[in-house]
């Protein structure tokens, strides 16, 4: 039952990812991306990563996609008919064929790696608390990985400041020194 659900969700994730690449309207791209993230969250849950599944929904679907939606609506790009005209010729050039070759090569390398690794162990029994229990994860985060944790906190703070500066209006340097 869980196995069948995994394959269904895997196919759903791949189809939704294709929707992101192929849809003309950015709004449809965002909704496809949302479907892909939800399918991946179910896969995380099935694989035993309960906290990561919750984080996937909260951060990706809840925060990042809302940011994308907000930008599309702010710039008024989601109207039907207002699609980027240059996007139409994206598949009409040699680069489309080149990308198929590159993607096939990536997949081939991945398949070769899996084949070389031999049969990987099949999940016999996942612990009831999952593979990422929060107490153990917190112990890692504030123990071994304390320095990366602090570094990424500083990076988040710097990002908050940078985004405010970037998105601010009227940043012309020739307007009497207000920068």
């Amino acid at each position: 039952m869980a196995d069948a659900l995994f394959y269904v969700m895997a196919v759903a994730a791949v189809l939704a990812a294709l929707g992101v690449v192929l849809a003309k309207n950015p709004m449809q791209c965002v909704l496809s991306l949302l479907a892909s993230f939800f399918a991946l969250a179910v896969i995380y849950l099935l694989a035993g990563f309960q906290f990561l599944a919750a984080a996937q929904i909260l951060v990706y679907a809840g925060a990042i996609l809302v940011l994308f939606l907000f930008t599309i609506m702010l710039l008024n790009l989601g109207n039907p008919g207002s699609e980027d005209p240059t996007d139409v010729r994206m598949f009409s050039r040699a680069n489309a064929g080149l990308m198929v070759v590159v993607a096939a090569a990536l997949l081939f390398v991945a398949a070769l790696g899996v084949r070389r690794a031999g049969p990987l162990p099949v999940a016999a029994s996942t612990p009831k608390t999952g593979l990422d229990p929060i107490p153990a994860l917190a112990g890692e985060m504030f123990g071994r990985y304390l320095l990366p944790f602090e570094a990424i906190s500083v990076l988040l703070l710097a990002t908050a400041v940078a985004v405010v500066v970037l998105a601010k209006r009227d940043r012309r340097p020739n307007e009497g020194g207000r920068t």
Partner: protein, 109 residues
């Protein structure tokens, strides 16, 4: 779930390939950023698949927490990347009234 870990890795590879193809094919800057998110997600899935493989290994069962920890870091970096990228898109739209990558050839010309 008793799916072998290879299948998780192959799914991650397929998602990464789709994301990479979209990154190079699309001309809309916002969609390009979405394709980056797709690739980061595939990397996350790969981390988690490796973690699961080690946790459920026949010889030495036990938790393998490097994968989930790095997946959390990747999620944070993805959020940062989306925020900065979209702020740049807004600043660009304000100056050029376009989000098409074909319009941004100042360094080429």
């Amino acid at each position: 779930m008793s799916v072998p870990s290879e299948h998780l890795f192959v799914l991650a590879a397929v998602l990464f390939a789709i994301g990479a193809a979209g990154f190079f094919l699309r001309r809309n800057l916002i969609v390009v950023l979405m394709c980056v998110e797709l690739m980061l997600n595939a990397a996350n899935l790969s981390f988690l698949a490796a973690s699961r493989m080690h946790a459920l290994a026949a010889g030495s069962p036990g938790l393998s927490l490097e994968g989930p920890t790095f997946a959390i870091f990747v999620i944070v970096v993805a959020a940062i990347e989306a925020a900065v990228g979209l702020a740049l898109v807004i600043a660009l739209y304000r100056n050029r009234q376009t989000v098409s990558l074909d319009a941004l050839t100042d360094l080429k010309d």
